[in-house]
């Protein structure tokens, strides 16, 4: 393995990190939106969201990605590998985020909501000032957990030709006939990123438990 190979894997790392970030940033608010549709029991929409979340949570990312990449051009929507990758990640992660957000919403104390109503806050204000800050705190560990899961499924994106860490490593292995060293470099790149997120999640949980004891 040469220095150029390492550079190629690092370039793959940039792609992995960028795609993960885009997936997380788009998936978070969409997940919240879906959760709100279910929570507010919007007719028809909440039923559609329920089925969407159930199907998406059961679908492997590879299958979803292949479906999007091959079937969208078939119905007249040309799509490149990167867009297909982002769309698949967002669809996948928004379904899981929806469940995290929803469980926070379901457990939200009703009396606070009614108190906000009685002091004359509007719907939007109630949500922004009373509900949102609290459900963000409750959902945070679950959301961070979902982020680490998202990063762990990104190697699948290589299937449609996105050159991420894994694809770069496999390609180098095929060229040098020594697959193990580049794969281990790939492990050395993924592990710290995921470990940092897992540690962040544990730290948030510990801090919240400590805060509860202090209160």
């Amino acid at each position: 393995m040469s220095g150029g190979d390492i550079t190629a894997i690092l370039q793959g790392a940039i792609v992995t990190v960028m795609l993960s970030l885009v997936g997380i940033l788009i998936g978070l608010p969409i997940g919240l939106g879906l959760a709100l549709l279910r929570w507010a029991r919007v007719p028809i929409a909440s039923g559609v969201v329920t089925v969407y979340v159930s199907v998406l949570r059961a679908t492997p990312l590879v299958t979803l990605l292949l479906l999007l990449f091959f079937a969208l051009p078939n119905i007249g929507l040309p799509i490149n590998p990167i867009s297909a990758a982002i769309l698949a990640l967002v669809m996948n992660t928004s379904a899981f985020n929806c469940e995290v957000w929803r469980s926070a919403l379901v457990n939200f104390p009703k009396d606070q909501y009614e108190a906000a109503q009685s002091v004359g806050m509007r719907g939007g204000q109630r949500f922004r000032r009373i509900v949102l800050p609290q459900i963000v705190r409750v959902s945070l560990p679950g959301l961070v957990n979902e982020m680490s899961l998202l990063i762990k499924v990104t190697p699948v994106l290589a299937v449609v030709g996105v050159v991420d860490i894994t694809r770069a490593a496999v390609r180098i292995g095929a060229q040098t006939y020594e697959p193990l060293p580049p794969l281990l470099v790939a492990v050395a790149l993924y592990a710290p990123i995921v470990f940092a997120l897992v540690s962040l999640q544990r730290w948030i949980e510990r801090r919240q438990i400590a805060a509860e004891f202090a209160a």
Partner: protein
């Protein structure tokens, strides 16, 4: 569009064998991972720092590595050590070892919250070691870990789809080969998606029935 689904229907034998392979692969590796978990969990809680440390490194290591990368290492990397496995064996091994780490962590989580009194009572009643484990410790442990193990089982089914890249003939691979021969991408993959959904609904139903048993025993 209807015609496309007709093509998929004509290839139903291939799709069903893919579904069967996914189910077999997931079930076998879930059972093997659970059994391995039963070995790793005591190691995680061992009083010897070396044993506990090694188990912790294994569990945390697996949780930080993407499954697909791990499958690549088993399939392409192990031959460097002189271990050459075919795609079935390496797929099964990868799924089992990877998920054993998760199972061990799940069992440990369920174990720490178990009440101690029934076990002490069991000791006082003179249960043998194995009898104590089988009759007193195991049933409540499995009942309380049941839902989380069920979730992990769904995760295993989804992970098994990754094995399509090492040409294991599971469900996604079957859908892929139908799509490449007949060019019916939407029909082929959406059928696969619904079959996966069906598998997961079966597991969820199983989990909720375990939950009812646990509730009834309380």
């Amino acid at each position: 569009m209807i015609h496309d689904f007709g093509v998929v229907w004509s290839e139903r034998a291939l799709l069903l064998s893919g579904l069967a392979n996914t189910a077999i692969l997931s079930t076998l590796s879930a059972i093997a991972a659970l059994l391995l978990g039963f070995i790793v969990t005591p190691a995680l809680m061992s009083k010897h720092p070396a044993v506990a440390g090694a188990a912790r490194v294994f569990v945390d290591g697996m949780r930080c590595v993407p499954f697909l990368l791990f499958a690549y290492i088993v399939y392409y990397g192990f031959p460097s050590f002189g271990v050459r496995l075919d795609n079935w064996t390496s797929g099964l091994a990868a799924l089992t070892i990877y998920n054993a780490a998760y199972m061990a962590e799940i069992l440990r989580g369920a174990w720490v919250v178990q009440p101690r009194e029934p076990i002490e009572a069991g000791v006082a009643f003179g249960f043998s070691e194995i009898g104590l484990f089988r009759r007193i410790i195991l049933p409540p442990l499995l009942l309380s870990a049941g839902p989380v193990i069920g979730n992990q089982m769904i995760q295993i089914i989804k992970d098994s789809a990754f094995l399509t890249i090492i040409a294991l003939p599971e469900l996604t691979h079957a859908a892929s080969s139908i799509q490449s021969r007949h060019y019916v991408p939407f029909a082929a993959f959406i059928t696969a998606v619904f079959l996966y959904w069906g598998l997961c609904l079966v597991i969820e139903a199983g989990v909720s029935s375990i939950g009812r048993v646990a509730e009834a025993r309380r």
